[in-house]
């Protein structure tokens, strides 16, 4: 291969097989180890240099199959078809090859050049398995390398393979034919892609022959995906074939008619071949040892044991560590000691010296400035909270506990139209709603994403708000009880209502339950730092934008207008006018609103205080979260959510004030 040219390499495979670890080894840049929702959603790219060559490596999101279900899978497939990498490294779990190989077949069928990396040989060994990579290579007609990537085993073989001159010169293959040289080179043998039953093969040939357009995959692969009614492929074929499309559509309808539609036949055939190959090349030499981790892992699946552990995890991991240490100790140190006492006064002075106009001074510094509010908010208040949350989350994730948590929660979340998976963003919402809204991306269906975003906007209090609200209400236990009960009721009621109103079916729950593992400190550290970097990239701009909006709002006199509107609401709820300022601040910054309530609390009767606290909690989320809602869900959905949350919050406050007035009148 010509010196100076770049080799494009994409790492593919299903979640949790070690793609990101290989990416780290090849590029020296680490992203994230597992692909539990919330991690490798975005495609990571990096450069690697060895053997005098430059490699452009991308780490694709988890892909089970080319017939995609999730956005992550679609992202991965799009990357493969658009960028046509020189090599695909399919990373597979050695323990479950029969489940991994169907994807290998699909990649081969699609005409990609595939290197199969059989990873986790170490875990396979302790499970009593021996994998014969030469056997696999011979059976599949593919280069196959065995690896234990977390230990670095197999990395140099992969590098050497990619750098071999022959690796770069191999031509593009024709459909269904395999010209890639096997690991140890020599034969051009047909790949062991599955041969389907007669009617399916006939249909594939017929569809492939009708295809005239330009595709990034072989006609056979396009025909396979079309036959299986893959929506994106159908769109593509429709666009490419134009007048040929109606004929293809008719053909597909015919093929998929009746009790045994052809579309359901390819996957079982592929799995059957995968089982045959795995059975031939994987030997069970010993009975798997039952470890303490396995026993504990099984116990955690049982509600009787799992739920108390869950409670302990929430209490220590979330409440004590994130809420107490992160939101308390660290925020105090950073916000009070560093920003309010040192950095902000200095910034104010410096900006005052540098800029003459009041306008610029206000934009950059002082009460709502980009630097004094935007940066401070992101660095001193939210960062410690999400930072500690990321640490706790990484521990839960790497230990394999999260899927067990989701499994226990699934039944509880079903009435809200959510699956157990949604527990992760909802829990994250107790840390920072803005973050959590971003993480709803990882939910499977659009409907579930909208519902979770809605609940986060409605009443999952973020740690800043929760801290101050608890502080205000702690002195009045009855008020605290009423507040918790009302917010919970509205959350469940509003969630159930939204799930009823929103068309579509309840999100299905399915999840792989990985074995429990002891998390390694290094991985936790790398994950946390990578996510912090991601946080700064994604969330800091939102906070800056929020500061800008506040500045503009003050500039054009929007605030007095909003205040007079909110004052009407307050009158309606039987609250003093001053509370309207609290509401406005609550939108700009949740804890700011709650803090305003803190100042007003002594002068308010308990009923007003509870009504104000409830309304404030349920009220629209903070500005940053709202901005993100628009960005993630689009203006239509975001407006609908705001339009639903706003009246619901006020209505709840109103009903509560009436109920309290009645009971109070009755001498309660």
């Amino acid at each position: 291969m010509a010196p100076g040219s770049r080799v494009k390499v994409a790492i593919v495979g299903c979640p949790n097989v070690g793609k990101s670890v290989l990416f780290g080894h090849l590029t020296g840049r680490y992203v994230s180890v597992s692909n539990y929702p919330g991690t490798t959603v975005e495609v990571a790219r990096g450069l690697g240099r060895w053997a005098g060559l430059t490699f452009e490596v991308s780490d694709t999101p988890g892909l089970y199959s080319l017939t995609c279900i999730t956005d992550e899978e679609r992202t991965a497939r799009r990357l493969l078809t658009r960028e046509r990498p020189d090599w695909l490294i399919h990373v597979a779990d050695a323990k479950n090859l029969d489940r991994m190989l169907p994807l290998t077949f699909q990649l081969v069928e699609a005409g990609f050049r595939v290197l199969l990396v059989v990873n986790m040989l170490d875990e396979a060994r302790s499970a009593g398995l021996v994998v014969d990579t030469a056997c696999l290579s011979a059976r599949l007609g593919l280069p196959v390398i065995g690896a234990a990537l977390t230990r670095g085993e197999g990395v140099s073989e992969i590098r050497d393979f990619l750098a071999r001159p022959a690796a770069g010169e191999m031509g593009v293959r024709a459909a269904g034919e395999m010209r890639v040289r096997a690991g140890e080179a020599k034969t051009k043998r047909p790949a062991a892609a599955p041969i389907y039953d007669r009617p399916t093969e006939a249909a594939l040939t017929a569809i492939a022959e009708r295809l005239r357009g330009r595709y990034a995959m072989t006609p056979r692969a396009v025909a396979l995906l079309a036959l299986q009614e893959d929506p994106e492929t159908l769109d593509l074929v429709r666009a490419e074939e134009r007048e040929g499309w109606p004929g293809i559509r008719r053909f597909l309808d015919q093929a998929n008619q009746g009790p045994r539609p052809l579309r359901h036949r390819p996957p079982p055939a592929a799995h059957h071949l995968a089982r045959t190959v795995a059975a031939a090349c994987v030997r069970e030499v010993a009975k798997p040892r039952v470890s303490a981790g396995q026993i504990l892992g099984d116990l955690l699946l049982r509600p009787l044991f799992g739920v108390p552990v869950l409670a302990a995890v929430v209490y220590f991991g979330l409440y004590r560590f994130v809420g107490g240490f992160g939101a308390g100790t660290l925020v105090d140190a950073l916000d009070r000691a560093l920003f309010l006492d040192l950095v902000n006064p200095w910034l104010n002075r410096t900006v005052d010296i540098l800029f003459a106009g009041e306008l610029w001074r206000e934009l950059l510094a002082h009460e709502y400035g980009l630097l004094t509010l935007g940066v401070r908010y992101a660095v001193a208040i939210v960062l410690p909270i999400v930072g500690t949350f990321f640490v706790a989350f990484a521990v839960l994730e790497d230990s394999g506990y999260l899927p067990r948590l989701a499994l226990l929660a699934d039944r509880l979340l079903k009435p809200l139209g959510l699956s157990g998976r949604a527990l992760i963003p909802l829990t994250l919402g107790l840390g920072c709603g803005t973050m959590a809204t971003l993480v709803t991306r990882t939910l499977e269906t659009r409907r579930e994403r909208v519902l979770a975003t809605f609940l986060l906007a409605l009443g999952v209090p973020c740690s800043a708000q929760l801290g101050v609200t608890l502080g205000v209400l702690a002195a009045r236990p009855r008020a605290l009880a009423i507040w918790s009960l009302t917010v919970l009721t509205v959350l469940v009621g509003g969630g159930t209502l939204a799930a009823r109103l929103l068309p579509g079916r309840a999100a299905p729950f399915f999840m792989e339950v990985p074995p429990l593992r002891l998390p390694s400190f290094g991985n936790i550290w790398r994950k946390t730092t990578a996510r912090m970097a991601w946080y700064f990239r994604e969330v800091l701009p939102v906070f800056l934008a929020a500061s800008l909006v506040i500045w503009l709002g003050r500039l054009v006199g929007l605030f007095p207008l909003a205040l007079s509107g909110l004052a009407t609401v307050c009158r309606w709820l039987g609250l003093p006018k001053e509370v309207s300022l609290v509401f406005l601040f609550g939108f700009l910054r949740r804890d700011y609103g709650a803090a305003g309530l803190y100042d007003l609390a002594p002068s308010l009767p308990t009923t007003s205080l509870v009504v104000a606290a409830v309304t404030l909690t349920l009220f629209v989320p903070c500005l940053a979260q709202t901005v993100l809602m628009f960005k993630e869900r689009g203006p239509k959905v975001a407006l609908a959510i705001v339009g639903f949350v706003f009246p619901l919050a006020i209505l709840s406050g109103y009903v509560l004030s009436q109920v309290l007035a009645l009971t109070e009148g009755a001498g309660w």
Partner: protein, 101 residues
């Protein structure tokens, strides 16, 4: 060997799936949800409310011919396919037809 007894219905014809009563793969045949804890079976058919549902089941390795063992039923169905442990809700479990082994 493409699921000899596969009985997947074509499009629709089953009312608003996801609500309503339990979906049965085939009358008389048992499903993953009917297995006893600890019992094994071979997948003989799969049934999903939509095409995405099928892809999901296939991606988990739940294809005709796969061997499954039920581990627990509550709060969700947990079972093994090969060496993988998988959790699914009742709805999905009822869509997997098995013949007890």
């Amino acid at each position: 060997m493409v699921g000899g007894r596969e009985k997947s219905s074509g499009r629709g014809g089953r009312g608003p799936a996801g609500v309503g009563g339990p979906r049965r793969v085939a009358s008389g045949a048992s499903t993953l949800a009917d297995l006893r804890v600890g019992q094994s079976g071979e997948v003989v058919a799969v049934e999903a409310p939509d095409q995405a549902g099928y892809r999901r089941l296939f991606a988990l390795g739940l294809v005709p011919g796969a061997r499954v063992t039920l581990l627990q039923r509550f709060p969700t169905y947990v079972f093994t396919v090969g060496r993988t442990t998988i959790a699914v809700d009742a709805e999905m479990a009822r869509g997997v037809g098995v013949a007890a082994v």
